[in-house]
Subunit: 377 residues, 2 copies
């Protein structure tokens, strides 16, 4: 991908995300091959670039959507509404109505009030109940905000048929960029318990949505996707009697490596005469698309024109007048001593969770644009 | 302001920032009265709403700008370029050229390379050198990213005349929402030392930019602006021989109380049967404009239709499928037990550092719009 961007674009306006939708489709197909007999819902929020969505539609993908705008996007790019799952557990009644009118018939909830909203505004739909799950081991954790206890899930799923909804399964998410393939098993076991309780009430749950979280290689190696698929299949085999059909929600795994964020060095400076640490300011920062550097959680790999030459310690920061707009201060990044203002720096595997996080114009800097590269089938 | 929004708008689309530019002008004039004989540069980044800028131009304001877009905005609304200070210490060469061509002749720097860029692309301009400053006591701290040591400031300011630039003073910033009026004095003392060193080299610095940071009442009382003006004037009197002309850079102080962010409750839920803490999800969150709730730093005051009735503990969160999109989990917020989905919740003093932080469309949610209210003179 870094090569694909090429030298010819080195003088193009920065910052800019160069995205190759074909690479994302390859990644989706790789994941689909690893997870046999699984419905893989691409998490549109990771990167909603229309040309990427169009390519995934043609590849037969399913889509996990979070809002009316994401639904409209998928349908505009040719997706059938039966391929969409409205996975956000927090939805306005008007948004549920919009989804239902658009043909969406699969929804996720995790609370009493959301279940009642779905019953009223999406009658007859299939529903998943999301479980609280530990996201220990994830670099961008998810615990706390979404999901309910297994006991509450049993209660709510048991109510669903009486409310005119069709309970199909439970879902959970073990946290994004999850490095440990073994982290799914505790939630699989909990899901099996919930399914067993429902079966005892003569309600058969046929599906299990194991979420996303499959990691991408930024600066450190990660286990291959097959390891995750095998660990999850084994866990399901151990804990479920009747095997449910699996669903996954990959976002980062599909889109990240399809993108390179091309940036420019705005300034290299020192704060004192007696400290060798340089401050390197890029023309993109936490409010221009690199939101996931919050807490230095996601540590991107950087490519400079001087790689391989002598380097030294740096603090990396964005271009705004906001002191929290610092990318890496504790992560001990090193960059070539030859690095100068005006140099291009490529941020690799930046295709997921970047463009849509960008602010509308903090400090007057425009949002991060996308340029699609590669074959446009 | 909460009253000014009024019941008639209760059914309007949310989220939305209701902004009264007249209130912002009153705040600017109140600050200008407290700081006699001071040039007060409104920090455009706090809220760049064009109608607010236009009103401030008519009130004779100065403007602190961070980018070409902010410069273009101020000029379009009628500001004279002599009223602009390009306060961002991290600027592309092309952006300096743009500013210079636009007539801007006042720039801030904090490093050798930035000084050389200014010499090349903004010849003859007046320059401030920014000092590192402690932001202890600030709720949104600024230390580290901006400024240099006093020794480096002396070196750089001494170079300036030889490079064809006009050194006029030093600047510093003690952190946004600074609760302690005494926090300016250490930096004033350092600035006086720098000015003394320059005077010994026959370079007279005539100005001192004491930055912004003047706080706003969110959930806790803050000292009145006069207390800050008096403390700073007294510190300058103690440390400077020849009194410099002062400059300030208020942003939050001017814009915050001019705005009310009207939101809607999307969901009220519990995670377990045995925990009384409710999760309250609003239709705006950290990626929709409330970026300053990061680390629960800025704690806004909320107004609900049920205030005064029995309340209970809540966790407040935004509407996106991102678990860091939580507003307050440790801050022990309490809201009425009667609160339900669909209820309007007004977030007070939300006119600063909200709209421009909003993402272009994370999760497919549109950016935060502004509706101006009050007299449009």
């Amino acid at each position: 991908m870094a090569d694909a961007v090429g030298e010819r674009d080195a003088s193009a306006h920065t910052p800019c995300l160069y995205l190759d939708p074909g690479v994302a489709v390859e990644r989706y197909e790789q994941l689909r091959a690893a997870f046999a007999d699984t419905d893989s819902y691409y998490a549109v929020k990771a990167n909603p670039e229309p040309r990427l969505i169009r390519r995934l539609v043609r590849a037969g993908a399913f889509f996990d959507v979070a809002s009316p705008a994401e639904i409209a996007l998928c349908l505009a790019e040719g997706a059938d509404p039966s391929r969409l799952s409205y996975g956000n557990t927090v939805k306005k009644a008007s948004d549920i109505r919009h989804a239902y009118r658009s043909g969406v018939r699969l929804f996720v909830f995790d609370s009493q009030d959301e279940l009642l909203k779905l019953a009223e505004h999406a009658p007859g739909s299939a529903v998943f109940c999301r479980l609280l799950a530990s996201s220990a081991g994830a670099q961008w954790p998810l615990s706390g905000k979404f999901g309910c206890t297994p006991e509450m899930a049993v209660d709510l799923l048991t109510q669903a048929p009486r409310l005119g909804l069709r309970p199909v399964g439970v879902s959970f998410h073990v946290g994004s960029q999850q490095l440990d393939p073994g982290r799914w098993e505790p939630s699989v076991a909990t899901a099996a318990w919930v399914s067993g309780e429902l079966a005892a009430a003569s309600i058969e749950l046929t599906m299990l949505n194991v979420g996303g979280g499959f990691p991408v290689e930024y600066t450190s190696p990660v286990p291959p996707i097959e390891r995750y698929a095998d660990a999850i299949a084994a866990a399901v085999g151990r804990h479920f009697g009747t095997q449910p059909r699996l669903a996954t929600e990959p976002g980062r795994y599909v889109a990240a490596v399809a993108g390179v964020l091309r940036t420019e060095v705005v300034l290299v400076s020192r704060k004192t005469f007696d400290d060798d640490t340089r401050w390197v300011y890029l023309d993109v920062g936490r409010f221009g698309g690199l939101a996931e550097t919050e807490g230095e959680a996601i540590r991107y790999r950087l490519v400079t024109p001087h790689d391989g030459r002598p380097d030294g310690a740096v603090v990396l920061a964005g271009p705004t007048c906001d002191s929290v707009d610092i990318l890496y201060q504790r992560a001990e990044y090193r960059l070539p001593l030859a690095l100068r203002q005006g140099d291009v720096v490529d941020i690799l595997a930046a295709g997921a969770y970047t463009t849509t996080y960008a602010s509308v114009g903090f400090n007057g800097f425009p949002p991060l644009p996308t340029v699609c590269i590669g074959d446009d089938e």
